[in-house]
Amino acid sequence: MFKFPQSGRERSAAVLVGIGLALAPAAFPSLSPALAPLPAVQAQQSSKPVLRISAIPDQQPEKLNRLYGLVANELSKQLGVKVQYVPVTNYAAAVSAFRTGNLDLVWFGGLTGVQARLQKPGAKVLAQRDIDASFHTIFIANAKSGLKPVTNVQGLSQLKGKRFTFGSESSTSGRLMPQYFLGQAGVKPSQFAGGAPGFSGSHDATIALVQSGAYEAGAVNEQVWRSSLHNGKANRSKVMAIWKTPGYPDYHWIAQPDLDKRFGKGFTNRIQQAILSWRPSNPEQKQILSLFGAQQFTSAKASAYGRIEQVGRQIGQIR
């Protein structure tokens, strides 16, 4: 059966290889001294509650890391509790983690926020940016597609039979509202070329794919479209805006219903006041606001998102 190594040299070689095998995959965890503390679990274990914040992933990653590091610091300073950022890469995962109580304060989009509140009754809408009360989607088209800028929603009917892409499935500005306006123009998703629209996964990808011609048209968040034009990622000779939607409410901060119980009376209110107090005059707060692309946050009401819920039900994203 097993033939054991006889000589001392063979034996020590055997030991070395064994150790090597065992440690090879582990060498990498040990490289990182601060192996990610696991926010979700840690908070439940420690006696002092930790405020776990998160955001739907629709920003550049280095921006996400910087932005939410800053937000966590600022909130921690103002509220006097430990604040931890939990990265989540999937819209549906962010909603589910909020429902299961693993995230306390989340920066949601319009649709995901409504989904989260429906799945977690009692969750509170805290604040939105100044630009979120009336947010817009831009329909864009490839310059060679033959599509023309239009002045009203009916003009979208020219998109029938074209290759068309949305952003992420759960995006309000990249999917929900554009699909709603397309419906008003009489365009069903099955009427696009190929029998279905694409889902590029992000606003940046939508712009790149329409610009390259993979899709003839697409729908993007106005904020991302503007910054792409500004930084040259969108080339005006290849991709153009054809229609801007009317305004609708979008991104907002939502908090768990039980924060007052866990952190002390009036805590939810204190979070809201803290976020609303951020001003460009404070250097750290100025950084946060500029990364959010806002002048300041304003208070938001759940009722403002009634229309989003209605559209979500109509389209089947809320059931």
């Binding site: 065992a22 440690l23 090879a24 965890p29 490289l31 990653p61 989540v88 299961t100 996964g201």
Partner: protein, 513 residues
């Protein structure tokens, strides 16, 4: 009529003919500048310390998840593999029907992609690090189980029958007759699963654990190619060194190639093996602690959100035939591409010494790039559709199958090929008849396993393929339509079962000439 073995190997490559005809109609070519930017970024990866720090931390988490998921999948796989072995049941109770049933049942966990497993578990247990590990362990465990039971079936039963005839008790006879010959194949395949686990752990990033997949996905979505390449280079270094270590250990311990089913004696270095296994135990616990893995968290179930009343009718009204047809087409195209193109390319470059090196490099890239990345790059120059998605999936799996074929042909030894060369054969014919013909059956049998994996992977390129089960699954997940999800997963399971049945028959014909 059966085609000759060497031709059998090249048969799947016939898929290239229709593809080459259709490809020109798909080219739009508007995004060459973006491809250029992507390639240029390869030589200028971001060195921003913020980016690098989070990448290295992510890599640590990913490697840890891969290790834990791999260990768990081996434990599950060996147990379930033995339980689904016809030989075992026949020896123990005289019937093999429990094995058949367990085999069928195992198709369900295997048919669902690890990413979907993760999202499903998230629904009931909440955001827990342990679900990342379990998400890998469940489908991988079921896959290992299938391989273990197939390995057992393919072993020679003479020893077992001899022991039984001599009056040995069935369990003892099984252990002594089948254990040692099973070990080399098992260890070789187990090592390979670790490589796969690293690739899967990279795709999983949704669990609040972070991880390299998180960074790669976000940099990809925002087209930050410089940051993306920092992550890809890091992953390449880890991937290649892991493959090198595993390959060296396999050679050292005298393992056969991973899809070779011939019986080879137990590895000479039994003690090393034992020692390595013992060292794994504290390591696994250490990593588990560092990642705050808590298996107990799996027991705290939370209720699902309520279902919509009319949901079932809506779910049944989905365009099922079209969804299934497109998914099957995508799987077959991608599998044929991956299986057929690998030997074809090796033959093409056979006369040139640098050719094989070049192929190895391209295949490493195929393994490195997650299929969604390849799909996005292809979309910069091709129109979306099933073929574009098949190319993306095919390229990734070509990287995996190509490496296996190369390894297998190295293990097969050069004698026959050299004899043919000396006899005046050209380099391509010598390679085809000297090396590949002996490998053809086991390589194709392995390709059938891979088709299973490709079916699961149609989920991650679903968005490129237009309509299909994959894109519908993503769509239903985003709407939290659990009724639709259930039916979609059932469709995946049914397709996997069907595919397995077909590939079982094909295997039996292939492996028993």
């Amino acid at each position: 009529m059966k085609p000759a073995a060497p031709l059998l190997l090249l048969l799947p490559a016939l898929v290239l003919l229709p593809l080459l005809v259709l490809l020109p109609t798909l080219v739009h070519g508007g995004g060459w500048d973006l491809i250029g930017q992507f390639l240029l970024a390869a030589v200028q990866p971001s060195t921003d310390p913020v980016v690098l720090e989070s990448l290295v931390r992510g890599l640590g988490i990913t490697a840890g998840m891969a290790l834990l998921g791999w260990c768990a999948s081996l434990l599950i796989g060996i147990a379930a593999g033995l339980a689904s072995s016809r030989l075992l049941w026949r020896t123990l109770i005289g019937h093999s029907w429990p094995a058949e049933w367990i085999r069928r049942l195992l198709a369900i966990p295997r048919s669902i992609h690890e990413l979907i497993w993760g999202l499903l578990l998230l629904q009931v247990t909440g955001l827990q690090p342990v679900i990342a590990v379990i998400a890998i362990a469940i489908p991988y465990g079921a896959l290992v189980a299938r391989v273990v039971s197939d390995l057992l079936e393919s072993l020679n039963e003479r020893n077992l029958q001899a022991l039984m005839a001599a009056g040995c008790a069935p369990p003892a006879a099984l252990l002594s007759a089948m254990g040692p010959p099973l070990l080399p194949g098992l260890i070789s395949y187990g090592g390979y699963r670790l490589e796969c686990a690293l690739r899967s752990a990279t795709l999983l990033g949704v669990f609040g654990l972070g991880g390299l997949g998180n960074e790669l996905l976000l940099t990809l979505q925002s087209l930050q190619f410089h940051e993306l390449w920092s992550g890809l280079w890091l992953l390449l270094a880890v991937m290649l060194s892991l493959e090198a270590v595993i390959g060296a250990l396999r050679r050292r311990w005298g393992m056969p190639g991973r899809f070779s089913l011939r019986a080879v004696g137990v590895g000479r270095q039994g003690r090393e093996l034992l020692l390595a296994a013992l060292l794994l135990v504290p390591l696994v616990f250490g990593v588990g602690r560092a990642l705050a893995i808590e298996p107990a968290a799996l027991l705290h179930w939370q209720a699902l959100p309520p279902l919509a009343p009319a949901g079932w009718q809506e779910a049944l009204a989905l365009p099922w035939p079209g969804l299934v047809f497109n998914t099957v087409l995508l799987t077959l195209l991608a599998a044929a591409l991956a299986v057929g193109v690998a030997p074809l390319l090796l033959l093409l470059v056979a006369p040139w010494p640098w050719g094989q090196r070049l192929l190895q490099l391209i295949w490493a890239i195929g393994r490195l790039w997650p299929p969604p990345l390849t799909a996005l790059l292809l979309l910069f120059v091709l129109k979306p559709g099933v073929i574009t998605a098949a190319l993306a999936l095919g390229f990734h799996n070509l990287g995996i199958l190509g490496r296996l074929l190369l390894e297998g042909s190295e293990a097969a030894g050069p004698q026959r090929q050299e004899a043919l060369r000396c006899g005046g054969c050209g380099p391509r014919l010598a390679l085809l008849y000297g090396r590949f013909s002996g490998l053809a059956r086991s390589y194709l049998a392995y390709g059938a396993y891979r088709a299973d994996v490709i079916l699961r992977e149609t989920v991650v390129v679903g968005l490129v393929a237009g309509t299909g089960l994959g894109s519908q699954l993503n769509q239903s997940l985003s709407a939290f339509a659990f009724d639709q999800l259930l039916l979609l997963l059932a469709a995946y399971a049914a397709l996997t079962l069907l595919g397995e049945d077909l590939s079982d028959r094909a295997r039996q014909r292939l492996l028993q000439p």
